[in-house]
Symmetry: C2
Subunit: 587 residues, 2 copies
């Protein structure tokens, strides 16, 4: 009976994992490490005998563990939080990731590893471990201090950038090359996909969940959540992105639902079960022989992680305007690698582009840096005091000036309000344009299928194209009009600010009006050209295009108010969902 | 990538299950039926195309669903509840199961099916569906009425007897024959195993769970619970019982833990996920062609289930002393088959003793009877009024007399207290003896391994045997002494009651004393003979046996008080656990 072997595997995994984690907990070490050690104990590389029969099924379940881990990360993520963490988090995370990828790549090259191994090593080192940090900070009872809040901000940005790294690595592994143009195209497409998925998802999913929640059945809600989660992962895979991305995105979408707390409560046991299997499966892969063979690289990489992250995150925090002590604490708190590294290492194996030793090396480095984390956090304060004493006076003064200068250039009072408004308008324009671009890309993608349907009524391919293109334009109209109106508001604002009476004298009003009219029209023209480039494959002949444009203009003129109303209703629905969920995120 | 096919399967299962169950919920039908219909839709027998790629993995996960279902059934079970439900539940459940197995067997034989098919059909029809009944009664808001409480009692006894049926069927399927002696041996061994597992389990598991719960980590508690659950299932499988039995037993053991509520909250989402897969997997097996081909048997079996259960359960409830109306409501409430039937049908397939058509037939009958359940419950009251009117006067009077007679023979006042005491003592003796029997059977089972260890020090096989047998006796001493003391108390009680001064005159005291001494000694002698028979394979020579017996007597005399203290400490620990958990079972 196949099932008995499977139950036996599960029994061994859970029993050993349970015992080891209890031991680890007693000695105040993270549970995650316990799982990995448990996997190592029952793994094929350690005596006395092979305890796992069906490694293939366990690995499949471990994949589910990754999905649930990323899904829960998404649930804990929130757009509102992302907007709040501000510059510090962005700068520190970006600096950290770029620097660590570079350091990792250089280390790999130094040891003479394959290009792909070095690249993946860089990616493995790039992202710190949320679980480990949360665990360490709550053990040390420092969760509510300012530097801890900064660390959480950096982690959120890291998650987003990490998703991007995974998408990029998948692309590079498939194509086998790194080209700047390709990178930009990948990042662009990824951003587009994420914006569209988030907008559509936040419009639909929380409403569906609220409907199911009305039945007051935990079971139905869970099945719906799992269906949406796996279904979305599948969609993302069909679009040739990683499942991990899908799980994170659908989690972030559900984070905006009113049922968030209930979903978290229901999904947590499921995640705990499968993530335990995931971490044990990591331990299964550890071969002590590999660890001995690669002892030297492991030491070097561990040092690189600790020092590299300390410097890059600390520097990032400092550049963004924090004092030296806080910056050092942020840097030392982030000095480890964890679950994201395992996911990236697993990606390399799945895509068959990395060597076998990379995974165990990553696990070993993660284990050592995880063990170091609490000591590093505790050592940050004494170290900052020592550093401050040892620093030469002039250097300290320069650092002080930097902080003062930074504060002086920050927009204050009215200009801060204005800057906020401009940022908000630009964001709205971007979201609307992203939706338009998605509509056109989508029509181009489905043009073949659509043309086949249309061929029953319309014979000429040109007319078919015209109909498809026209349909896409019609669908885009509400978003185009909204973008145009936002841009107009923005240019009026800019005209008001830029063209002052003491510069333009009595022409002030006229110049302002011209600027306020010309900028949005020009940008709209630019957008249309971009759209045409994007939808080159379904572009009809010029005459038809002019005809469509005229038609669209006519429709816009006739339905202007109605289109605006449609758009604003969507926008209100979106904002309501976001605000409702924001009330819930009091965590 | 294998994992993507797997995720796709899960996505399809959860999405379709989610949609269908929402539809079913809207039309007030049980969610379980929705799952089965969802499985039917995505199954291989329905167009448009095969939606599941890896049926094998799904079936393995469905096995997990069975384990979690039975585990949760065990969690909801409680020994205290079992003792409370009393005679009604036992009589009704026993009558129902015997009658339904017979009816099922006869129907199978009538249609000319194989003996094994007929036997499994009987077992499939024997047990009603807890989930369906709970759902229907709470929908009808009748959960707290008296007849509903009786139904729940019957369901608890059914679960226990059902576990026995599964063990018996497995035995019969392997040996291929039904012999009375074998049946008794199987039931005896099963009872023994259950008692020993419960006593040891309740002594150890709640303590372990309380220890883990101190760490206040849901994750660790869940992993421990899962480890114990799978580990115990594995142990049970090694002893050649069904995994289902193991899951139920370990659930019943954990039901006595203080962490019960927490465990239920953690395990519910996991159960919901896997039981959804289980029910969908059932739907996958439905082949419409089989349903059409077996339409006639399905109709006959459905009628047999409804009428048979109505009569057997109703009669059982009536015999146990309930009025006609309540009895009819109990009978009509239990008129369906459900998850237990699927488990038994699946057992037949796994053991490869039943034909392929049996499973879909069982599912079809279950679906129809499930749909009928709420209507039957609602129809019970009008029907009982009509029956009462239509019944001839004399018959009604006979029924009335039966009730009066039953009430008159029930022990009242002091004799009721005495009956309760005797019952309690007998139960304690039985538990102690079961443990002794288990120790001897265990030593006989492991004699080979033990002898190998001993052979390093002791050469003679006879001496080895003597050591093993003596060790078993030593281990049993506390339980033997406890059983002896309970028996002594019982015989004193009986002597006090049976030998009254008006019968024995001035010899009263002496006769009482003789009876109080002789009965326990005789029963102890009987026990020893039984033990020797059970441990025939490890029995040493007579001289050694006498030596051991003398030694044991010496040890008993020397350590009498200490042995009693050891035993009473264990008993107190057990009782405390049971009482603590009883406070929690306020559901």
């Amino acid at each position: 009976m196949h099932a008995i072997a499977f139950i036996q595997d599960l029994a061994v995994i859970m029993l050993v994992a349970g015992m080891v984690t209890i031991l680890f907990h007693r000695f105040k070490q993270p549970v995650v490490l316990g799982y990995i050690v448990a996997g190592f104990i029952i793994g094929p590389h350690t005596p006395p005998f092979e305890l796992i029969h069906d490694e293939e099924t366990i690995k499949t379940l471990a994949e589910l563990g990754v999905i649930f881990l990323m899904f829960c990360l998404g649930l804990e993520f929130s757009l509102a939080k992302l907007f709040k963490v501000g510059a510090t988090a962005f700068i520190a995370a970006f600096l950290e990731i770029v620097l660590m990828i570079w350091i990792g790549y250089e280390i790999g090259s130094y040891f003479g590893w394959k290009t792909m191994d070095s690249l993946f090593l860089g990616a493995i080192l790039a992202i710190s471990s949320t679980t480990i940090i949360v665990k360490a900070l709550s053990d040390l009872k420092m969760k509510n201090e300012r530097f801890a809040q900064l660390i959480f901000g950096v982690l959120i940005v890291e998650d987003i950038l990490g998703i991007g790294i995974i998408a990029l690595l998948s692309g590079i592994a498939v194509s086998g090359s790194v080209e700047t143009g390709e990178v930009f195209a990948t990042v662009g497409k990824l951003t587009l996909f994420m914006i569209v998925a988030l907008v559509i998802g936040i419009l639909l999913v929380p409403r569906l969940l609220a409907y199911v929640a009305k039945f007051e059945s935990n079971e139905m809600l869970l099945v719906t959540v799992l269906g949406l989660c796996f279904g979305f992962c599948l969609l993302v895979v069909k679009l040739e992105y990683s499942m991990v991305l899908g799980a994170f995105l659908i989690g972030a979408i559900m984070a905006e639902s009113r049922q968030l707390m209930q979903i978290e409560r229901l999904i947590e046991p499921v995640r705990d079960m499968f993530s335990a299997i995931f971490f044990v499966a990591i331990g299964l892969l550890i071969d002590p022989k590999v660890l001995v063979e690669y002892a030297w690289p492991i030491v070097v990489i561990t040092l690189a992680v600790v020092l590299g992250k300390m410097v890059s995150c600390g520097l990032g925090a400092f550049i963004a305007g924090n004092d030296g002590r806080t910056s050092l604490r942020v840097g030392m708190g982030l000095s480890q690698i964890g679950e994201f590294s395992f996911i990236i290492a697993a990606l390399g194996i799945t895509l068959q582009v990395t060597s076998n030793f990379l995974y165990p090396v990553a696990v070993a480095v993660s284990a050592i840096t995880t063990l170091l984390t609490p000591y590093l956090i505790r050592a940050a304060d004494p170290l900052s005091i020592k550093l401050a004493k040892a620093m030469p006076r002039p250097l300290a003064r320069v650092f002080g000036y930097y902080g003062d200068w930074l504060r002086s250039i920050q927009p204050q009072g009215q200009s801060a309000v204005l800057a906020g408004m401009i940022r908000k308008i630009l964001l709205q324009v971007m979201v609307n344009l992203a939706l338009v671009v998605a509509i056109f890309l989508g029509s181009a993608y489905f043009a073949g299928t659509l043309a086949e349907y249309l061929s029953e009524w319309v014979a000429s391919p040109n007319l078919q194209k015209a109909l498809i293109w026209g349909g896409a334009l019609l669908l885009s109209l509400p978003f185009l009009i909204a973008a145009y109106r936002k841009l107009k508001a923005l240019s009026m604002l800019l005209a008001e600010m830029g063209v002052t009476p003491d510069k333009a004298g009595r022409h002030t009003e006229r110049v302002r009006k011209v600027i306020a009219e010309v900028i949005p029209l020009l940008s709209l023209l630019g957008i249309m050209l971009l759209l045409m480039a994007l939808s080159a494959s379904i572009l009809p002949t010029l005459e038809l295009l002019v005809l469509i444009a005229l038609l669209a203009a006519g429709v816009s003129a006739l339905l202007w108010r109605w289109l605006i109303r449609v758009h604003s209703r969507m926008q209100i629905a979106l904002m309501e969902t976001l605000e409702q969920s924001q009330d819930q995120h009091h965590r």
